[in-house]
Amino acid sequence: MQHVDVAVIGAGPAGLAAAVKARASGVKKVVVIERTKYPGGLLEQCIHNGFGLHYFKEDLTGPEYAARFVEKARDLNVDMRLDSMVLNISGDRRISFVNKRDGLVTLTAGAIVLAMGCRERTGPSIMLAGTRPAGIFTAGTAQRYINIEGFIPGKEIVILGSGDVGMIMAKRLSLEDVEVKAVVEILPYVGGLIRNEVQCIHDFEIPLMLGHTVTEIHGRDRVEAVTVAKVDKNRQPIVGTMKRIKCDTLLLSVGLIPENELSRMAGVKLDSTSGGPIVDETMQTSVPGIFAGGNVVHVHDLVDHVTEEAEAAGASAAKYIMGKLKSGIRKLNLKAGENIKYVIPHTITGEKEVILYARVKEPAMKVRVKVGNIFNKPLRVVRPSEMLKIHLSPRELEKGRDGLTELVVSCVGKEQQNKKINIS
């Protein structure tokens, strides 16, 4: 049986960053196992720009961003197994995967980095009712058809959900002269980044229906129309507001779910709120020697953060196999408090500086972001679409030395904002 030092599952932005970092940290044998034909993951189909503004301080397209890491990985002789599907991972770090060339391969790894990313929520996951014809696609699948395969699903499109991929597809389709009849969002605000709302929806004069949802799909063979209705405070359709919109395609951009089937097989404990593994500040999961980074842990809004988080996982994997990963003496649990959905990592030692990622539940203005009593910072506006990045310095952590076992992260605001946030 082959043995590798570090095995990385997935060659998307997270996997590539983890592999490069592990190799750069002195690990000899790093293998990356990727199920598609090319490294780069979903970045390959994200041909729009806006990537790398934080990490590279440059404005790159998805493939350009990925290429930088692919090149680094090649230069560092990272062993890349493409077109290879991992079938199983066990808690003792035994991995089985298959591909056409090598057949079934089983290898053991000194450490594993999980970097499987996330997948899209489907129509059934939101109980979309009506007929089940051709012409219903998740936004990401449609993006692949258009940008990789070269095909357009239809010419009159309604998009349900205003996640980033959905909004980006609204623009992409408009550029193909497809008529985007509406972007329909059940919440009173868009699900994705404000910059995408401006650049992809408003700049293209696409009708944005906030506080609405699709209640029924029509058409036997192919989508012929959808019924759209206004929703009340409890997100229930309001009778009498139903409107039929003729279209041949419905795209769904209704959320992303971290993909953790392999994590489960390995016995990794998951957080039901974030959808990903429970991790400490080294990005180690509940199974020793198994680390995780990127969208497999929680869904990010910027690839730059994915890279940073996965680099941390790669660096920790390197330390682990060299016996240098120290588990701290203390363990501080991080808890989600007021208006916070989740916090990553789940535990810190409080002994060295750390970056926390947190997701708010509701948009709010003039808030204070607090971490226990050691961190307190004002913010003008917070939105669920924009992850909070909280840098805890050694000075701040110093304050939490004595006897603490738990830190509550909260976002306390004067005004809870449910209405549309002004874009200025």
């Binding site: 057949g103 997948r119 996951s125 051709a134 063979d221």
Partner: protein
């Protein structure tokens, strides 16, 4: 003029009854043609069946439905039980001969109050002798099924209650085996008129004229409509629609038996393990005037979910990966009746109606139909070379690691797993096309690619590409299930070109 196709027996309909009859007839030296109006077999009423082959106890339970569906005579009830018992035994054999995946699951009827407990006792009294039923107390229930409701006070348990399978697996297997034994199957072939001549009947189809001596009308939802083409139709139906919800395999193991309540009008089998390891939540039947109504309705799905949760509380809407509706049709003369009948003036035209249960009696009904045909003058000479066996497509995901390794060594495309949820390989997809799949749904039914939790988001584009390659058609011609269900309508830049041309024209 094109010469009409001549055949001895024409079967209309590629559902469970049509294919079971085709396979039964393929045992004899007869020229048989099966026509199906859809692009594939099992694309009609059969695919929404519950996928159950069950014992007579179920008859007692589906009393629920009969009460809703109106009249049931005792005589008809007895006949039905007989035909289903015979069907059950024939299925046991066919599951093996045709390699149809199936799984034996038990039945656990749960009572949560005194009234239900009384019903359990009554059922026990009536059926214990024949079906090895046991009455269980709360602790026994929870030791067998730890995830059912704590409110359970008693349960009725039958360990080997039913054989669950996928309805389309069964229909496809029967069709493949019939075809192997020489039956002609014409797809995309819709019947539009039937005329009776001397000693033969002429059938007009969308694929040309067919001349035949005998006709078996097993056209499911269309059975009365087709029957009316051949003469006055003496039967009609009452139709019911029910929602079926499928869960992720992650929660598939939380129960291992069919979990249900004592018979209530319109409710059948609340939580049922599937052969593939998911759970199927169902079914709450409501009468419908439109038997072609496939629409799912949110309130209907929520009701199914709530009912399932009342028995298995840990289930959540988050566990649902897909749903659909199923149609049940009952004779409006007697809900227990299986319609097998001919117009008076044309005994060589036999209609076979759908009923409930639909799958259990199918092989027995096939034997009855063949006997009728013989009585009407069809010569049955057994074929010595009849091959009762059919090999299923090798399911890569079900093999052990050494078997997988060996398979990839022999055929490299087993090493290309293109479905991340169900671990379906390229080799399986190609094999399903070789066996007759021409659409995304056809491949899904044969391989499970697209049936997992991501619902084809990952494998879809790859399957489309393979379909186009293997069938040698443009990608834009690939359909979900034939007809007008094309998936990708244009190439990139195509709309820009036509629009630009229009704009240029306008400018001139």
């Amino acid at each position: 003029m094109v010469k009409p196709l001549e055949t001895e027996v024409l079967i209309i309909g590629g559902g469970i009854n049509g294919t079971a009859i085709a396979r039964e007839l393929s045992k004899y030296k007869i020229d048989v043609t099966l026509v199906e109006k859809e692009v594939d077999v099992s694309f009609g009423i059969s695919k929404g069946s519950n996928g159950q082959v069950y014992t007579g106890l179920e008859m007692a339970l589906s009393l629920a439905l009969k009460k809703v569906a109106g009249t049931v005579s005792e005589e008809m009830e007895k006949a039905k039980e007989r035909i289903c018992d015979q069907g059950y035994r024939l299925w046991e054999q066919m599951f093996h001969e045709l390699e149809i995946p199936y799984r034996v699951v038990g039945l656990m009827v749960i009572a949560t109050n005194a009234e239900e407990f009384q019903k359990l006792n009554a059922m026990h009294k009536q059926y214990a002798k024949n079906y090895g039923l046991k009455i269980l107390g709360k602790e026994e229930i929870l030791s067998i099924e730890p995830n059912v409701t704590q409110e359970a006070i008693a349960g009725l348990y039958e360990p080997g209650h039913m054989m669950v399978h996928n309805p389309f697996d069964a229909v496809i297997a029967l069709a493949e085996n019939a075809k192997d034994n020489g039956i002609r199957i014409l797809l995309n072939c819709e019947v539009s008129a039937i005329t009776k001549g001397k000693g033969f009947q002429t059938v007009e189809t969308s694929n040309g004229r067919i001349k035949t001596r005998f006709i078996v009308n097993a056209s499911g939802r269309y059975v009365d409509k087709i029957a009316a083409m051949a003469g006055p139709c003496g039967f009609g139906f009452q139709c019911f629609k029910g929602h079926l919800l499928i869960t992720d395999k992650n929660v598939g193991g939380i129960v291992n038996n069919v979990i249900t309540t004592p018979p209530l009008p319109g409710i059948a089998k609340v939580v049922q393990p599937t052969v593939d390891g998911n759970l199927r939540l169902g079914t709450l039947y409501e009468e419908t005037k439109d038997r072609f109504d496939h629409r799912t309705i949110l309130s209907g799905m929520n009701e199914v979910m709530e009912r399932a949760r009342s028995l298995v509380p840990s289930l959540s809407p988050r566990d649902i990966i897909t749903y659909f509706t199923g149609t049940r049709m009952f004779s409006n003369r007697d809900a227990a009746e299986y319609i097998i009948e001919s117009p008076k003036e044309n005994p060589k035209f036999i209609s076979v109606g759908p009923g409930m249960p639909g799958f259990t009696p199918a092989p027995a009904i096939a034997k009855i139909v063949v006997e009728r045909l013989e009585n009407e003058g069809l010569q049955l000479v057994e074929r010595r070379d009849f091959n009762p066996y059919r090999k299923n497509i090798t399911r890569f995901s079900s093999l052990s690691n050494p078997q997988k390794a060996d398979l990839i060594r022999r055929e490299a495309s087993y090493g290309h797993v293109l479905c991340r949820c169900e671990h379906v390989t390229e080799a399986e997809v190609v094999e399903s096309i070789r066996r007759g799949a021409t659409t995304l749904d056809g491949i899904k039914f044969r391989t499970r690619a697209g049936m997992g939790r991501c619902q084809g988001g990952f494998c879809g584009p790859q399957v489309v590409e393979i379909l186009a390659r293997e069938l040698n058609i443009p990608v834009t011609h690939v359909t979900k299930r034939g007809g007008k269900s094309r998936l990708l309508l244009y190439q990139t830049k195509e709309l820009l070109k036509t629009h630009r041309r229009n704009r240029d024209d306008a400018a001139c």
